[in-house]
Amino acid sequence: MSNESAQVFDVIVIGAGHNGLVCATTLARAGQSVLVLEAADQVGGMAITRGFAEGFKVSAAAHLFNQMPLPLVRDLNLKQHGLQWAATDLPTIGLSPHEAPLRIGDRDALHVRCEADARALGPFDARMNRFGKLMHALLASAPPRLGTAIWEDKWALAKMALKLRLLGRQEMRELLRIIGMNAYDLLEDEFKNPLLKGTLGFDAIVGSNFGPRAPGTVLTYLYRRAAEVSAQSSTFVQPIGGLGAVTQALARAAEAAGARIRTQAPVARILVENDQASGVFLESGETVLAKAVISNVDAKTTFLNLLGTEHLDTGFVRRIDHFRSRGMTAKLHLALSKRPHFTGVKAEWLGGRLILSPSLNDLERAFNPTKYQSVSATPALEITVPTIHDSSLAPAGQHVLSSVVQYVPYTVAGGWATQRAAVTAQLIDLLDQHAPGLRDSVIAAELLTPEDLEKEFRITGGHWHHGDLAFDQFYMVRPVPGATQYETPLPGLYLCGASSHPGGGVMGLAGRHAAHRVLRPNP
């Protein structure tokens, strides 16, 4: 501790989330002296595994792994650093009260249900993959800036235009037609089966503030496809020990590269000297100096709380203040005394990803009440039972259910203090309808609303992606003009988290791009 007070690091990374750790590793490998400061008592940010009931552990926020690019996983030697898979190729199963569960991608099952859909699914998938590949190029590199004289920016824009053109006339036209559309209309055009549409539609809106009829939800769908292309996998993976195992491995990779990591070291302020970030002041009262400070924290917290608006211009602060960062996604954790049985779900499917989004209309209806600060009685769910593949998470014979709950507003009428129990009970009832007997097996329940996520993970607004992924907060303008390309108006201060391109998801790309920017600043 004392030698850190004396040392001036090349780089301080605030926040040991997956992006912060990727960034730290990349910089440490390039020979920089790196200190990572984490407020919580373990590394991982929103990708952690932690207890929620006596003997039960769960991936507290993100609970599936499918977006980190394979080359990055390999480059960071995560396997060598202890990352192991409990299960791969997890199937996606659509659930509905009106029809039997449907395994997405099972052409034969779909054929029985709707011949036309079975024919349409292949070409649709192929097309979305083509577009996903194009989008992947956006994710894989730092965004260029408009109106600069920098050759690199112009080249990136030209490359993008060329890639678009190389799709061919018909496909380019189709991409331009659908890119601003809503997922509802697109899926209605393509398919007939309500459950298929509802389940595909879920992927377009998960983690967002939009109903499937909101413009821009095709963009978020393609974004997800792009991340899958990037990860070279369209299937989901469950690490042994939950998502926390990913960040534990990342931390070991960072330390192996020479980075130092300190937990329980919350940063109170970013220090500024001569209009240059010069270090941080910890809540403990300690000062640590560095030549550059990289924030894995969300943009609002970084600028409005840690840096302080006095170091920024009003117009920039105004844009940061307007960055839409209120989450609409909650997480439900249940400790179960026995294995749940979802009606019609085959035994080998239970370890997969169960999507409760019976139709696009149900999905839109799940969204509607949130506009008026309440939660639908039938929100959309992404259910996993991680203990099927990983018994380390619960006492023997007992199980954990981890569910993403889509469309839970940051504020509810009456406040979460009074509504939490009712909403939790409602969710258990909903699950019980699809898994009869589940209610009676619940030992403990934990609901993490966006407000709880804000508190636990120190993210202003509790948004999974730090801020909405939408056209106005995407790519070249993410999070806001003036802080794109991982640089900020304050020299020496950088962003490396989900607030920056390409945004949220356990991808690690923002951290990697940010590290490259620090190593090679813009002229």
Binding site: T309, E310, G315, R318, G482
Partner: protein, 400 residues
């Protein structure tokens, strides 16, 4: 009588607390809207009013000037981040002329800041600024409140103004140095008096509660009679301010919050206001952009011109050569100055043109009994202000 309680949607132009007297005195039915109020443009004749500014004493109703109270523990820090000058140096009892910029270092507006107490300031602006001020308050513990309607304001300007105010009973007014203010009282009416103004002459501004406005006006007219006091309208004031070299928003520059065309914003460096920009203080809005601009040098400069002849060069395009082949700028304000006996103008000129002492050519169009004639007038770039009399700064001012 209290028409200011009528909402704007019923009465688009409010009356100021002085309106009753102003209407009685004016002879021309010449009114102009100003920031939501009806104000007098000319009372009698512009010449009469102008010469009263330079030779006697004048009353100008500046109630429509937009006023904000900025208070709170962070008020000083807030203002220091907002404006380009160092507000930490502004002592209680002092006034400072300031400008504020957007992120690009372009001027939004100018105004005056009064330090009322440690944590309490008043800022007077040409245009309404609440949106910018509120957004600038994110992260600061300040309260911002518009107080325009709570304060009646009257400028008393001219070489005999101090004498008139002493006669009014404002004891100690002669001790006020330029850019100082005091709370004084006259006949039981509390008046805040600042030695500030827009004429470039000896003068004061009085700030009072609206209910004292008419009584104070009447007393001033009475005690000032022997010193030639008269109310003036905005036209005469505009002449005085051009002579003094002061900038008028929407004439010499347009607020960066209002411009539509990309190159119409102006920075303080371009407007010759670099003396207001204090780089050696904590961060302020536009600092990084202004530092860069001062490094590469501004693209254009606001300069004073002495134009040949006696015809005001209103809006004239400026050329580097008499042939008019190379356009280098334009005039923003122009007049024949009766006091300086010079044909003066404020002009925006692209650098590197416009160096002090250099010659530029003004393309002036003259309407001679309905026939337009064009003149290329030789113009010399000269020092501003055009009018600067020692009485403006003398303390105490001479008894006149």
């Amino acid at each position: 009588m209290n028409t200011t309680t009528v909402p704007h949607y019923k009465k688009p132009l409010w009356d100021t607390p002085f309106a009753e007297r102003a209407r009685a005195f004016q002879q021309r039915d010449s009114f102009v809207p100003w920031a939501g109020y009806s104000t007098v443009d000319v009372f009698t004749t512009v010449e009469q009013e102008y010469f009263a500014i330079r030779n006697a004493a004048t009353l100008f109703d500046l109630t429509p000037m937009v006023k904000y109270r900025i208070a709170g523990v962070d008020a000083e820090r807030y203002l220091n981040r907002l404006v380009t000058r160092d507000i930490r140096k502004l002592k209680v009892g002092r006034v400072s002329y300031v400008v504020w910029c957007n992120d690009a270092g372009h001027l939004i507006d100018d105004g005056t800041v009064f330090r009322i107490s440690e944590h309490d300031f008043r800022i007077c602006t040409a245009e309404r600024q609440l949106d910018w001020f509120m957004d600038s308050a994110i992260g600061f513990k300040v309260e911002i409140e518009e107080v325009t309607r709570e304060i009646a304001a009257l400028a008393v300007q001219g070489p005999t103004s101090c004498f008139v105010l002493k006669r009014l009973g404002l004891d100690g007014v002669d001790q006020l140095k330029p850019f100082e203010w005091r709370n004084l009282s006259a006949a039981g009416r509390p008046v805040m008096v600042s030695r500030t103004g827009f004429t470039g002459d000896l003068g004061y501004e009085l700030w009072m509660r609206p209910e004292h406005a008419l009584g104070l006006w009447d007393d001033l007219m009475e005690v000032g009679q022997s010193r030639g006091i008269r109310p003036i309208g905005s036209q005469a004031l505009n002449m005085a301010r051009i002579e003094a070299g002061f900038l008028l928003p929407n004439v010499d520059f347009i607020s960066a919050e209002h411009t539509i065309r990309l190159d119409r914003d102006r920075s303080p460096l371009e407007l010759g206001l670099e003396w207001l920009v204090e780089f050696n203080k904590p961060h302020f809005n536009g600092r990084r952009a202004l530092l860069e601009e001062s490094r590469v040098g501004p693209k254009r400069r606001l300069v004073g011109l002495d134009v040949a002849g006696n015809k005001a060069a209103h809006g004239a395009l400026l050329y580097a050569d008499e042939a008019g082949l190379k356009e280098i700028g334009h005039v923003t304000s122009a007049m024949w100055s009766p006091t300086c006996k010079r044909n003066i103008a404020l002009a925006m000129i692209n650098t590197p043109h416009g160096a002090l002492g250099s010659t530029v050519w003004a393309d002036v169009y003259l309407n001679r009994e309905l026939m337009w004639e064009r003149r290329m007038l030789r113009s010399e770039v000269v020092e501003r202000p055009f009018f600067a009399h020692a009485r403006r700064r003398a303390t105490p001012p001479a008894d006149r």
